[in-house]
Amino acid sequence: MTWGLVFEQLLNGLQYGVMLFLMAAGLTLVLGIMNMVNLAHGSLYMVGAYLAVALTAWTGNYFAGVALALLGTLLIGMAVEMVALRALYHRDHLDQVLATFGLILFFNELVSMIWGRGAQYASLPSWLQGHIDLFTGSRYPVYRVAILVVGLSTAITLWYVVTRTRLGMLVRAGASNRTMVGALGVNIRLLYTVVFGVGAALAGLAGLMAGPIYAVQPGMGELILIQVFVVIVIGGIGSVRGALVGAIIVGVVDTLGRAFLKPLLASVISPPAAEAAGPALASMLIYLLMAVVLAVRPAGLFSSR
């Protein structure tokens, strides 16, 4: 366990955290402003990944593929909002959970029908392959650095929009008091559609970036979605800042845990026991963290309510 290795895993954790943030930001705003539980958010992540694979292959150009995938996810997201989700805004959370659960089944099967149940191969252009040298002497994939850069710039842009623009002010106001914003004469429907659209685009972005690293397959959205829930619970509903902090924490804890818990345990208890307990504990780590945060702050760290 060298420092170089630790730093590398730390970077991985940050990179994963940044992707979690992209998912969490959209979801927490939808939860906070529209008071709507949307399980199908993971499906948009999956759609982004699949569209990127298909459109990059079709156009032969990485940038075109990415841009079209983003656009496609945005459009599909808005279509879903208009067709299915509009009917659910005034329903209770149980109904929303069940209906969006049905949507997940639909999207997973649809994707299976078109592309099959196996994993798809997402290729990278040559300039994104390869490694760079870190100051620690080890080498780190260029692509992961790119993800970090894209993710952080998106975070900064979001921060700017939410805290420094009128739209952002409406979003923040809506997150803490929806009825009041409506009463002030703001076009709530338009606001909802915009918020949802932005969330969908962010999810699609996370998905298409995830493609080359993680498997592009049916059900990929739900695996990350549940971790996104953990992020939002820790960060607090409706807070983009909370989503960022929560995402970084979850990303780093999860990655470091998986990498180092087993060797750490092995130095304390017997290696065979560590062999069994290590991975088990590592996979439970972020949930235990969530439980601890909840015990102290039931509404999350930065709740807007």
């Binding site: 539980v37 009917a87 149980l94 959970v97 953990v230 996979s283 235990l288 909840l294 039931p298």
Partner: protein, 310 residues
């Protein structure tokens, strides 16, 4: 009220008559199919207690199916195949885990509660996958069926069927008594109007937690039964998809009604069987069907016959 009793009598009579009928018609497959429905009904009945009557949207109820099943499986793995030991452990372990998860989760409400129960169940799912000893991702076979000192042979499909039927009816009766008792009234009151319930002097937390534990325990029993039914135990039993299925069984049948969960389980599993017969991609049809049922069909099937309990 009379109508209800008549319908119940009819239903029970049909269920009792099914095995001999199936055998006579040479369609023994139905004994297995309905037995699966009966076992999952127990899980749905337990969820109805906290979801339908208690208003706790627990998206992690399948966890207890898994804990119950793995309790039986792990004990069998280590050579303990006595049902007298396995099944109480399944129930006890589920109750314990429910107490732990409930203690933390019930302090929250609304969206948080949904996400948290989902997250904890996912945690157990990952735990199940990581236990390579017990098959990990692929799961494991049940080494031997639960033995009950020769009183009943679970290897006999018909005997097992009648046991499942008896336990299902017992569950229905238990939940019926509970929801109409003092305890049940507080639970239902807290769902109906939480501030009012506090104002008259009840602290809903403890009642909800107790209901949560009871529901978990009952679902654990269903899990032990299920392990014996399928002879195979996988972490998929604890997946969020399974939790979603359980919720639909409760909703489709009609929440907060005695027969609802049973009807709902029948409905969902029958629809699945039919759809599976049509196409390999049956979920592409089921998904939108479920969405439509939520949007348009709020009161569930039981609501068509009579108004559910308040």
């Amino acid at each position: 009220m009379k109508l209800r009793l008549v319908l119940w009598g009819l239903g029970i009579a049909l269920l009792v008559a099914l095995p001999p009928l199936a055998i006579a018609l040479g369609q023994t497959y139905y004994i297995d199919l309905v037995r699966r429905v009966l076992i999952l009904s127990i899980a749905a009945i337990s969820l109805n207690l906290i979801l339908g009557y208690g208003g706790l949207v627990s998206f992690g109820h399948a966890a207890y199916l898994g804990i119950g099943a793995y309790s039986a499986g792990i004990m069998a793995f280590y050579g303990v195949s006595s049902g007298w030991l396995q099944w109480p452990l399944a129930v006890g372990a589920s109750a314990l885990v429910a107490a732990a998860i409930g203690a933390v989760s019930i302090r929250t409400s609304g969206i948080y509660f949904i996400m948290i129960t989902l997250a904890f169940t996912q945690m157990l799912y990952y735990l199940g996958i990581s236990l390579a000893e017990f098959g990990g991702d692929d799961g494991m076979r049940l080494k031997a069926r639960s033995q009950f000192s020769g009183l009943i042979d679970l290897g006999n499909p018909v005997a097992f069927y009648y046991l499942a039927l008896a336990l299902m009816l017992l569950s229905v009766f238990l939940v019926y008594r509970i929801v109409n008792s003092r305890f049940g009234m507080v639970l239902r009151a807290a769902k109906s109007n939480d501030p009012r319930t506090r104002a008259i002097g009840f602290s809903p937390y403890f009642y909800r937690l107790a209901a949560f534990v009871l529901a978990g325990a009952m679902c654990g029993l269903a899990g032990a039964l299920y392990a014996n039914h399928t002879n195979y135990i996988t972490p998929g039993l604890m997946s969020w998809q399974q939790s979603g299925d359980l919720m639909f069984m409760v909703i489709l049948g009609g929440m907060a009604s005695t027969a609802g969960p049973v009807i709902g389980t029948f409905a969902l599993l029958v629809i699945e069987e039919v759809l599976k017969g049509w196409t390999e991609y049956w979920q592409v049809v089921l998904g939108p069907l479920l969405v439509l049922s939520v949007v348009f069909f709020k009161r569930g099937l039981a609501g068509m016959f009579y108004k559910p309990d308040a």
